[in-house]
């Protein structure tokens, strides 16, 4: 069961003999610590899934706090149909005269308007004006017509399909606008981060003291990593196999 960042900050205040008037600044520090920990540890279940609606331009806005996309799918009852990533989607938003975003027409393949003679053999004999071979052209027409492309905080879907909503699985910054939660084992590490940052902001603290706080945090973070991401059987097998090499028998 996860614990709240609020409880961590309050415990920290009590332990260190601070006052409630320090709460707000400590909360800011704690939330930045949460982001730092969430970068490489799943301390607050920061891999999230959410359904988002698709607008008229066949694009959807990513949820707040989304950092990396893990999967984009179309929900279909209790199943999901994954959508492949397609970098061939035009990233430029098409707009009408009033500046409103509009959808593109279903694209016509560039190859469809060309003749067999122009291009020679479609995939194997593309020649330039010097009749030099320029290699095969991949991706048009695509093998998988439906796809998505992430453009900033927007997901643009291929216009050949028009779902009303999509499901995105993403890794978040770990910080939400509601109550933030954290793995109980990460509490002490977060407090050490707060120690470091709280003292770092105070000029009367010596540089060695600040350095010690920083070291203590990273040591604690490594320990936390070993607790949360324990070395399991699969890791053992992988390590062993990675280090086995073929030998020549004579």
């Amino acid at each position: 069961m996860l614990i709240t960042v609020d409880s961590v900050v309050r415990t920290y205040i009590h332990e260190r003999g601070l006052v409630l008037h320090d709460y707000f600044r400590l909360l800011t520090i704690a939330l930045s610590g949460l982001k730092d920990l969430a970068k490489d540890l799943d301390i607050n279940q920061n891999v999230k899934a959410q359904e988002i609606s698709v607008d008229d331009t066949n694009s959807a806005i990513l949820p707040t706090g989304a950092i990396d996309l893990i999967k984009v799918c179309v929900p279909n009852g209790d199943k999901i149909l994954p959508i492949p990533q397609n970098d061939g989607i035009n990233p430029i938003q098409l707009r009408d005269d009033q500046g409103n975003a509009i959808i593109r027409d279903i694209p016509v393949s560039a190859w469809e308007n060309t003749t067999f003679l122009d291009i020679g053999y479609l995939f194997t004999s593309r020649l330039n004006d010097k009749f030099e071979h320029v290699g095969r052209a991949f991706g048009d027409p695509p093998a998988q017509p439906f796809g998505y492309k992430r453009i900033g905080d927007r997901i643009q879907l291929d216009v050949s399909a028009r779902p009303t909503c999509i499901l995105v699985v993403y890794s978040s910054s770990g910080v939400t606008s509601d109550v933030n939660l954290i793995h109980p084992h990460a509490e002490e590490t977060l407090k050490l981060w707060m120690d470091w940052k709280w003292k770092e902001a105070r000029t009367q603290k010596g540089i060695w003291e600040k350095q010690n706080e920083k070291s203590a945090y990273y040591v604690s973070k490594r320990n936390l990593n070993s607790v949360i991401n324990g070395f399991g059987y699969e890791d053992y097998i992988k390590t062993v196999r990675d280090h086995q090499t073929m030998t020549v028998k004579i």
Binding site: L20, F24, T176
Partner: protein, 204 residues
């Protein structure tokens, strides 16, 4: 015996008349003394807090204030200005009436503006407040009546117990006597001086 403002005023009058000015006690207006006691307590609270390192519960004054709303923002007007302390600790605690465990989160002036657009501005779903002038503004809607505990001595009756530790009473008396012309002289020194005068008279 717990000291109140009346008792302390009477004691100051006695010291004054016995040791300082036997002939003209009428110079000493008791209303003036009571006001000075209030000011002395508020003056001495601050060094006392710095010396202790925290705020003693006995110097807190509690007020129940009905909230007002302006532009969708809830606020209350403080009846008195609290003692000026770092981090606005003069406002010791603010909470809904009858729910002292649900204290609102203090935010220093300007901090809330600085953190706009960051996760801190949501204060983990809690209510924050910041203090400007006589006014405490809240970040969210709050209960109709709010209890505020301030670091200030604001006596309602003269018979109320003085909200200071007993060891501070002597300092309050000294502070008041200084205002009545004993610039550098403590009550003891005045007593000694008075005794010397009496001896001189006897010799004459």
């Amino acid at each position: 015996l717990a000291t109140n403002r009346n008792l302390l005023a009477e004691q100051i009058q006695r010291i004054y008349s016995r040791n300082i000015d036997r002939e003209d006690v009428s110079r000493l207006d008791v209303r003036e003394i009571k006001l000075l006691i209030t000011q002395a307590v508020n003056f001495l609270i601050k060094p006392e807090i710095f010396q202790r390192g925290d705020i003693s519960g006995c110097i807190l004054a509690s007020y129940d204030i009905v909230k007002q709303t302006s532009g969708g923002c809830d606020y209350i007007i403080l009846p008195v200005v609290p003692v000026s302390l770092p981090k606005e600790q003069g406002i010791h605690r603010v909470h809904p009436q009858g729910c002292s465990t649900q204290a609102y989160i203090p935010i220093q002036t300007n901090d809330f503006q600085i953190v706009q657009g960051t996760p801190s501005m949501y204060i983990e779903g809690q209510v924050g407040y910041f203090y400007e002038g006589h006014r405490i503004s809240f970040t969210k809607t709050v209960a109709t009546t709010v209890t505020v505990k301030l670091v200030v001595y604001d006596p309602v009756n003269d018979t109320d117990i003085l909200p200071i530790p007993p060891e501070m009473e002597a300092q309050v008396i000294e502070f008041v006597l200084k205002q009545f012309g004993l610039a550098q002289m403590s009550a003891n020194a005045a007593s000694a001086k008075n005794e010397r005068k009496t001896n001189e008279r006897q010799l004459d």
